[in-house]
């Protein structure tokens, strides 16, 4: 998702493998997905890139605010809610359960 794209000429086209997700055309999407690196080191690399993308944008700044960690906690709450929805749906306020 965060691979580097080189542009030396505007007439030269970038190979599909190196395009970012937002630059991939819709028709090319399946082949783009299949070309991604799904080996264990590739997946770990993807998580690492995602982590550092968030970290460098919100936390590793001179005057980081509380929003950086609050977003993480909010995502954590939503994550836990989705995975315990099955038990939680019995706890709604209803006249007849």
């Amino acid at each position: 998702m965060a691979s580097v794209v080189f542009f030396s000429h505007s007439s030269l086209s970038v190979p599909l493998k190196d395009k970012k997700l937002l630059e991939v055309k819709l028709g090319e999407l399946p082949s783009w997905i299949l070309m991604r690196d799904f080996s264990p080191s590739g997946i770990v690399g993807a998580f690492r890139r995602g982590y550092y993308r968030y970290y460098n944008k919100y936390i590793n700044v001179k005057k980081g605010s509380i929003a950086g960690i609050t977003m993480v906690l909010a995502c954590y709450v939503v994550f836990n809610y989705t995975f315990s929805y099955k038990e939680l749906k019995h706890e709604r306020r209803r006249k007849y359960h």
Partner: protein, 226 residues
């Protein structure tokens, strides 16, 4: 009602994949690397907190005991973050599981005992008999001291489990009570205030980490140094 109350302590798994592994690994992502001399605010805050805890805890130890600093700091950070993350809504707290707490307590306690027995055998064995006991009492006292030694890891683990579980359970119960009392408007407001106060005191579950590492520390201190 019974099922609902303890359902939040079930180990989260989706289609057989234990999600609990991800939840246990999550606190590690909150510890950010400090690469520079002056870091971002978050890292500086963590650095300051860890140095505070380090100075507070390791100052009474000799050089040999201070080799445990990394282990103990990691322990207290891990337990503190797990307990605090468990206070967020719908979260699963891994420290409510006795299996995990026993897995933390028994190896660490055994290490302190074995270290004491190996390097200072006479001193370690001498702990079983306090000074100045009357001679007829000695056999009974040694038995009692041995029992109290072997109960240490169990006490460490069960203390942590029981405290965190009890706190979570109480919050669930009070929340349910508030919801059912809302239709009878009389005492609902006082109940909500009690919930809020309880939540604040439960954040002293962080103090439990202090208790955990401190008691571990005490036993390390007694066994390793003099």
């Amino acid at each position: 009602m019974n099922q609902n109350l303890f359902a939040s302590f079930n180990i989260p798994a989706i289609l057989g994949i234990p999600l609990v592994i991800l939840i246990i690994m999550l606190p590690a992502t909150f510890i950010t690397p400090t690469n520079n001399l002056i870091n971002n605010r978050f890292s500086s805050l963590q650095q300051w907190l860890i140095q505070l805890m380090l100075k507070q805890m390791m100052i009474t130890h000799s050089t040999k005991g201070r080799t445990w600093s990394l282990m103990l700091m990691a322990l207290i950070t891990f337990i503190a973050l797990n307990n605090l993350l468990g206070l967020t809504p719908y979260a699963f707290t891994p420290t409510t599981q006795l299996s995990m707490n026993l897995g933390m307590a028994i190896p660490l306690w055994a290490a302190t005992v074995l270290m004491g027995l190996r390097f200072k055998t006479k001193l370690a064995l001498a702990h079983f008999l306090p000074q100045g006991t009357p001679v007829p009492l000695i056999p009974m006292l040694i038995i009692i001291e041995t029992i109290s030694l072997f109960i240490q890891p169990v006490a460490l683990a069960v203390r942590l489990t029981a405290n965190i579980t009890a706190g979570h359970l109480l919050m669930h119960l009070l929340g349910d009570t508030t919801l059912t009392l809302m239709s009878i408007y009389l005492s609902s407001s006082t109940i909500t205030i009690i919930i809020i106060i309880l939540l604040i005191t439960l954040e002293l579950g962080v103090a439990l980490i202090q208790a955990y590492v401190f008691t571990l520390l005490v036993s390390l201190y007694l066994h390793d140094n003099s």
